[in-house]
């Protein structure tokens, strides 16, 4: 492969936003038939680089060559015509149109100069079958699950004469089977000589599928490596540019096995269709229960059922032995049960409001419209949390939307903690934030638990669940498989429990 000429090469690439360079003198290359990973923290310049090679952003300096010829794309369509296609993290298709149109629109087949829906369906069906997908091309895209929509997006990308396929976080919403299916497709494409740029936060997947990895940090190129020659710890270190030894080991609260001891919060047979069949959960004071499970395993449904976001269809929740009716997030908050959503931007932070307003929002909502907190008191409260959680920049009046992902997450935590809650339910609090902030949040959860707070901690990363949780509740297909002390589990044994039974055999 090294003897071959690069299919795509970026040299000295610089992209500026105002005064800041999001990409500074970066070189990057891809060879035919390789699967290449792009790694880096948030803000390292990954998405800027992707946008630069797919024609979304123009280069301020540097050149992009394809087959040794310099090219300049006026837009994504231009790049597509040159054979560079992208599948984005959030499915960027049209739910209101048919699957066939989603695959072919833009270069749709015509008959007598008129667009032919029938030809379009036939053509799309072939392309989808090629990917092992058997669905009605005439059906509306929106009627299919997200994973299928993602595969349709890939079908769209490969239905052109694709030479470079960019997959931006394609696996973040797929379950194990679907990932395996995707990897089969990726291998098939790479054997046809397509160069694939695979961007993912999941190290396992990167090591499983990628031949080569390019690491970026703070807009600069760190280096390009062969995956098999790069140790994981080295890769992480290159991404961070510092040692990752500051994980604080959590002091395990000995779980009280004495019979008759009341859990602080106990849920019996709670269910919310179709994602969660009746499950039992107990949460002791000062305990962290990690929740492990794949997407669609019911982990988010469980979090929402416990916090009044979605209504219970069956079962009962008791707090200190008293049955409670969690009919809204507001009621749950009043009972000391608070929730942070996995979807920080859509269901968490209010970007246009200031950091101060974001932090004090829930407290103010509890006090009601008429009993406004005094401005001085608001400032004091917000300031104390900004300091306690190390929110940067420590500017209370800055719109929260301008903060980095990790700091937004901290603002969200501050909003919840300002309520002085008893139970904290965190749904993927570390998703999509840089490793530094991730460790800080993990450590914070430990400290909070040490101070008597009960925490439900959901994460897609099994290692993190094990590190943070005292016990781990394992969910699969909407059922609670088991709840085990994390000391008795390893990542491998947890993986086996999380995955479907068929896959445990090998």
């Amino acid at each position: 492969m090294d003897g071959a000429l690069p299919l795509l090469e970026l040299t000295g690439a610089t992209v500026r936003f105002g005064a800041d360079a999001a990409l500074d003198d970066v070189s990057f290359r891809m060879f035919p038939g390789e699967v290449h990973s792009l790694m880096g923290e948030n803000g390292a310049g990954k998405s800027t680089l992707i946008k630069a090679i797919t024609g979304v952003l123009p280069l301020d300096a540097g050149t992009l060559t394809l087959d040794g010829t310099p090219v300049r794309f006026a837009g994504p369509h231009d790049a597509q015509r040159a054979g560079i296609s992208t599948v984005y993290q959030e499915v960027e298709l049209l739910p209101n149109l048919s699957v066939a149109e989603n695959v072919l629109l833009g270069r749709e087949p015509r008959r007598h100069g008129v667009l032919s829906q029938r030809l379009m369906r036939e053509r799309a069906r072939e392309i989808l079958l090629d990917l092992g997908l058997d669905l009605d091309p005439g059906s509306a895209l929106g009627s299919h699950p997200v994973a299928v929509q993602q595969l349709v997006a890939i079908a769209r990308a490969i239905s052109t004469d694709v030479r470079v396929l960019v997959l931006d976080e394609p696996t973040s919403s797929l379950d194990l089977d679907e990932v395996a299916e995707l990897f089969r497709v990726i291998r098939e494409l790479s054997s046809r000589g397509v160069a694939i740029l695979f961007v993912s936060h999941f190290l396992d997947q990167v090591y499983e599928i990628c031949d080569r990895v390019t690491v970026l940090r703070d807009g600069h190129l760190v280096g390009e490596y062969l995956t098999r020659q790069l140790l994981r710890i080295d890769l992480v270190q290159k991404m961070l540019g510092r040692d990752v030894s500051d994980f604080k080991a959590r002091r395990r609260v000995p779980v009280d096995d004495e019979p008759g001891t009341e859990a602080f919060l106990s849920a019996r047979g709670i269910a919310s269709a179709p994602d969660l069949t009746p499950v039992d959960v107990d949460l002791a004071e000062g305990e962290v229960v990690g929740v492990a499970g794949l997407l669609g395993s019911g982990r988010t449904a469980l979090a929402r059922a416990l916090t009044g976001v979605s209504r219970l269809e069956a079962g009962i929740v008791r707090i200190e032995g008293t049955p409670v009716d969690l009919d809204s997030p507001r009621t749950a908050i009043q009972l000391g049960v608070v929730y942070s959503s996995e979807n920080r931007l859509a269901e968490g932070i209010l970007g246009e409001l200031s950091v101060l307003e974001n932090i004090t929002l829930s407290v103010q909502a509890q006090r009601g419209v008429l009993r406004r907190m005094r401005p001085a008191r608001q400032r004091e409260l917000a300031q104390s949390w900004v300091e306690a959680l190390g929110i940067r920049p420590a500017d209370l009046d800055r719109p929260a939307g301008t903060l980095s992902g990790g700091n937004q997450q901290k603002v969200l935590l501050a909003r919840l903690l300002a309520l002085a809650p008893r139970v904290l339910v965190l749904d993927e609090p570390t998703r999509g934030i840089d490793v530094g902030a991730k460790v800080e949040i993990q450590n914070l959860v430990g400290e909070l638990a040490d101070n008597g707070l009960s925490v439900v901690f959901i994460s897609a990363e099994l290692e993190e669940v094990l590190r943070v949780g005292d016990r781990v509740a394992i969910l699969r297909e909407g059922r609670l498989v088991d709840t085990l002390p994390s000391a008795e589990l390893t990542v491998d044994s947890l993986l086996a429990l999380v995955a479907s039974p068929d896959e445990q055999e090998d």
Partner: protein
């Protein structure tokens, strides 16, 4: 033998039900339009029954098209805009402006073909202004078309403060000439309106431009990433709506035999109501121009029924409002069900 027959029948039944399922999964978005058809049928049957067979006559049905040709044309233009997720409040005023402008030009001796061209160009120009504001200056369609409304309404009064009679035989011919088939008749204005519907249906379903209109309503960003020409399409739908406004101005001038600057106050609401009743979602991306035809038919039928019964025309507004409410609640329920399925 019997067994085989039964089996054959079951198979056939299965095939039919599978075909129905396929059809329904492909055309779930049509449900509101079917609902509108049902309501139209109920209205016609109900009116026929209570008016003892005097209602569903060739004469009434023919005049339905005649009386609502201008609204149908406006609603078709509006359908394009709403499918992209936009809205055009200017159409009633554009119709008034082009109508009075045409009457003025004809009155001062300008040949009919030129006057008509100017009317259509004037409507399109206002549409173009709105489209450019929406697309290139990121103005919300509501506000941009509000500017269009003010501009057209004001210009109508600049042309003339009072109504102007039209004597031009060519323009009046559009209205007065009746092509008869038994008791049925159709006027050139009616044909014009139906041609507009047909052209719109063709464009929306069988051209890339049409599919781009739907794509923009589905997700504008995605449409752009798919390499569809979003910018030009978005401007174009407002131009189409403005053009339809101009055409409606011509039809209304022929219909009333005069241009009047106060014409069409609130007609944009009638057009929006007809489009929504016809099953097009105001959020864009879902709907059919044939649904709009049904929506206008429902609208016109109610109006006719009210005048048959000799009731106050104020009931018209109340009933259309209630119907609109019914339909948005239906749409809301459909959307809510789709969301829950996710």
């Amino acid at each position: 033998m019997t067994a085989t027959v039964t089996e054959g029948r079951t198979e056939r039944l299965e095939r039919v039900s599978a075909a129905t399922r396929t059809f329904m999964s492909r055309h779930a978005a049509m449900t509101p339009t079917f609902a509108a058809l049902v309501i139209l049928a109920l209205l016609l049957v109900g009116a026929e029954a209570s008016l003892r067979g005097d209602f569903v006559t060739p004469r009434t049905i023919s005049s339905l098209l005649l009386d609502n040709a201008y609204l149908l044309i406006l609603a078709v233009g509006m359908t394009f805009v709403i499918l992209t997720g936009g809205i055009d409040l200017s159409v009633g005023s554009v119709m008034a402006f082009t109508g009075i402008l045409g009457a003025q030009l004809l009155g001062s001796g300008v040949p009919a073909w030129l006057a008509v061209t100017v009317m259509l160009a004037g409507g399109s120009a206002i549409g173009l202004l709105i489209g450019v504001l929406v697309q290139y200056f990121d103005v919300q369609p509501f506000i941009a078309s509000l500017a269009g409304l003010f501009l057209a309404r004001g210009l109508a009064f600049v042309v003339s403060l009072s109504s102007i009679r039209v004597e031009d035989t060519g323009v009046l011919w559009l209205q007065q000439n009746r092509i008869r088939l038994g008791d049925w008749y159709i006027t050139p204005t009616g044909i014009l309106a139906l041609v507009v519907v047909a052209l719109a249906a063709f464009t929306l379903h069988l051209t890339r431009f049409g599919r781009t209109v739907y794509a923009i309503g589905g997700n504008e960003q995605s449409a752009r990433l798919m390499g569809l020409d979003v910018a030009r399409t978005k401007v174009a739908v407002y131009v189409i709506s403005g053009f339809c406004g101009g055409l409606a101005g011509l039809v209304l001038t022929a219909y009333s035999g005069a241009g009047y600057p106060r014409n069409g106050i609130g007609t944009e609401l009638d057009a929006i109501a007809a489009v929504v009743i016809g099953g097009t979602l105001l959020t864009g991306g879902r709907g059919y121009v044939l649904g709009t035809l049904v929506g206008v038919a429902v609208f016109g039928t109610i109006k006719t029924i009210i005048s048959f019964m000799g009731a106050e025309q104020s009931w018209m507004q109340i009933i259309v409002g209630a119907l609109l409410l019914l339909f948005i609640v239906i749409q809301r329920a459909i959307v809510a069900r789709a969301e829950r399925r996710r």
